[in-house]
């Protein structure tokens, strides 16, 4: 991936939550700018941890992370929050926030601690809602939405930040087929609008169906990384999942069987 410019670069990143436990064992990676990168691998392989490192929420024990060719640590917390948005696996507010009020929370990086959102923030929130196609639900409480709608709402909340990079943790793992397609289409649209999208998933079919680049991860290590066509091979997938996986392209569609 040396040909495409990279927005995030990791070098020999090692991380563990405690002293005697290592979750990531020396990750070196380049994430291409303006593409959709899927971090693919079995559960418990350190995918979410890697996402939290990219966010700056966790700090590596050793190794370096660079965002736009600057060390991630050199950015202030506020600067970072204007550049990187996060969509966690499931986001839940136990109160009846309307979609608009909820998405408006994404404006926080652009506002001071005691500032209230104003007209321009409202406009940004409405635009974010429009981008995920939920205009008609703008004043509906989140508690009255389906799982798919809520996932799109969370994406809109992160888009209201107007980030350059969007991180998503298993964005479709608990969605049905129709909603998966909906989320995928929204993410593809964001990429063509110039946003760098990085999502974790344990589902090779999902990664194959939407990613430009793939990072295969297993047990805290990168098995392989690169453009989808060259990375999603039977051999590499089998090594990642520890069982025989076959990947073929039939009529421009990926077919993955195990």
């Amino acid at each position: 991936m040396t040909a495409t410019p990279s927005i995030l670069r990791l070098e020999r990143v090692v991380f563990g939550y405690t002293e005697d436990e290592t979750v990531l064992r020396g990750i070196s990676l380049s994430i291409p700018t303006g593409a959709l990168t899927a971090i693919l691998g079995p559960n418990g392989g350190g995918k979410t941890t890697l996402l939290h490192l990219l966010l700056g929420w966790l700090r590596p024990r050793t190794g370096t992370l660079q965002l736009q060719d600057r060390p991630l640590d050199a950015f202030s917390h506020r600067e970072r929050s204007r550049l990187i948005g996060l969509v966690p696996q499931s986001e839940h507010i136990p109160f009846e926030f309307t979609l608009l009020d909820y998405v408006l929370l994404g404006r926080a990086p652009h506002l001071g601690p005691l500032e209230m959102p104003g007209a321009s923030d409202l406009a940004a929130a409405r635009q974010a809602i429009q981008r995920v196609g939920l205009n008609e639900l703008i004043s509906r409480p989140l508690t009255h939405m389906s799982g798919g709608e809520r996932q799109l709402a969370t994406i809109a909340r992160a888009l209201a930040q107007q980030p350059a990079v969007l991180l998503l943790d298993e964005p479709t793992s608990h969605l049905d087929l129709a909603n998966r397609r909906r989320v995928r289409n929204v993410l593809r649209q964001l990429v063509s609008d110039g946003i760098t999208v990085i999502c974790t998933t344990h589902d090779p079919a999902l990664a194959a169906g939407m990613a430009d680049a793939i990072v295969l991860m297993r047990a805290g290590e990168v098995v392989a990384a690169g453009p989808t066509e060259t990375t999603l091979t039977s051999e590499k997938l089998s090594a990642t999942y520890g069982l025989p996986v076959a990947a073929r392209r039939v009529d421009n569609e990926w077919l993955i069987t195990s």
């Binding site: 996060l86 136990p94 109160f95 926030f97 009020d101 929370l105 990086p109 601690p113």
Partner: protein, 331 residues
């Protein structure tokens, strides 16, 4: 989806509170229930004295109490992402009561120690509930918080029982017991001053952060991704809410359920967004507490303890909200 009509103007609740305050000054058992006329206030020296030195401080205390507990409850519910939280559920009220009782028994002379001790033990109660909840191996986060709160509250209750058994049955015990029932009889301007000194700054902090607090209700990593120093801001808000509660408890004793019920009603009446629901809970708390206290001191010749009245109304009201479903308590 049918919804109850919502209050659209943010000024409606404070506008309601003002006439209620004026009315409350006339309400009472002097010269005879339900109260005096405005004319009497002109003619009767005693009536004026009564309103100034008894009713007005009491009305102020009731409003402050309701505002503190309503806003405090709303803050804790948001921060703990738990619509079932109120100061009483997390060991805050019981901690404050224990601390206050401790001060009453052992540091009788030093009036300044009472709110201090109440505040210290209130924070301690909250910290203990939170820590315990993190270590419980049972149920989800909401369930664990409620359980931990029950445990810590019970610990403080038994401590309180111990203090009672040590109290002098002739002098201290009746005072302590009556104080614990919760009420505002005999509130003086001094009490009001001490409440104002803590409650008003706390409410200002809470009001200023009324939008920000919604972000703190999101998960840690998400709040971080939005550029919020969640730990610091959360601590500030918790201290504000707990200090306000402790200040109120140290004057009025245990007045329960306001912090649980009022934020629920505020969210339904206004919007769940804390920009409206948080000030809403504050004003509504003031109205609710003042209304209850008016009833408590006017209805019967002997006074009904305020805490008993708020518990009665609060518990019934909460049951009604939960039974009607689709409330803000749903997960």
């Amino acid at each position: 989806m049918t919804r109850p009509p919502r209050l659209t103007s943010p000024w409606l609740l404070p506008a309601l509170l003002l006439p209620l305050i004026l009315l409350s000054l006339l309400l009472g058992r002097y010269p005879h229930p339900p109260g005096m006329s405005v004319r009497l206030l002109w003619e009767d020296e005693l009536a004026r004295e009564l309103v100034w030195s008894l009713r007005l401080p009491r009305v102020c205390a009731a409003v402050l109490l309701g505002m503190a507990l309503g806003a405090g409850g709303a803050v804790l519910q948001m921060l703990f992402r738990n619509p079932l939280v109120e100061p009483g559920f997390l060991g805050v009220s019981q901690g404050a009561a224990f601390g206050a009782a401790l001060a009453i028994l052992f540091f009788k002379g030093a009036i300044i120690l009472l709110p201090l001790s109440a505040g210290l033990f209130a924070l301690g109660g909250l910290a203990l509930s939170y820590t315990l909840a993190r270590h419980l191996k049972f149920g989800g986060w909401i369930m664990r918080l409620v359980l931990a709160g029950i445990v810590v509250s019970a610990l403080f209750s038994s401590g309180l029982g111990l203090l009672k058994s040590m109290a002098d049955p002739q002098r201290e015990l009746p005072e302590l017991t009556f104080w614990l029932l919760g009420g505002l009889w005999g509130v003086s301007w001094d009490d009001v001053q001490r409440m104002v000194a803590i409650v008003v700054p706390a409410l200002i902090v809470i009001s200023l952060m009324r939008w920000r607090i919604s972000i703190l209700a999101l998960e840690e990593a998400t709040a971080f991704s939005l550029g919020v120093a969640a730990g610091r801001e959360r601590a500030l808000l918790v201290v504000a809410a707990v200090a306000a509660t402790a200040a109120v408890v140290s004057v009025a004793g245990m007045v329960g359920w306001i912090g649980l019920l009022v934020p629920h009603i505020a969210r339904r009446l206004l919007r769940a967004d804390s920009r409206s629901s948080l000030p809403g809970a504050m004003w509504l708390g003031g109205i609710f507490a003042l209304g209850c206290d008016d009833v408590a001191r006017t209805l019967t010749p002997g006074e009904i303890p305020l805490g008993i009245l708020t518990s009665l109304i609060g518990a019934v009201g909460f049951a009604v909200i939960l039974m009607r479903g689709k409330g803000s308590a749903r997960e």
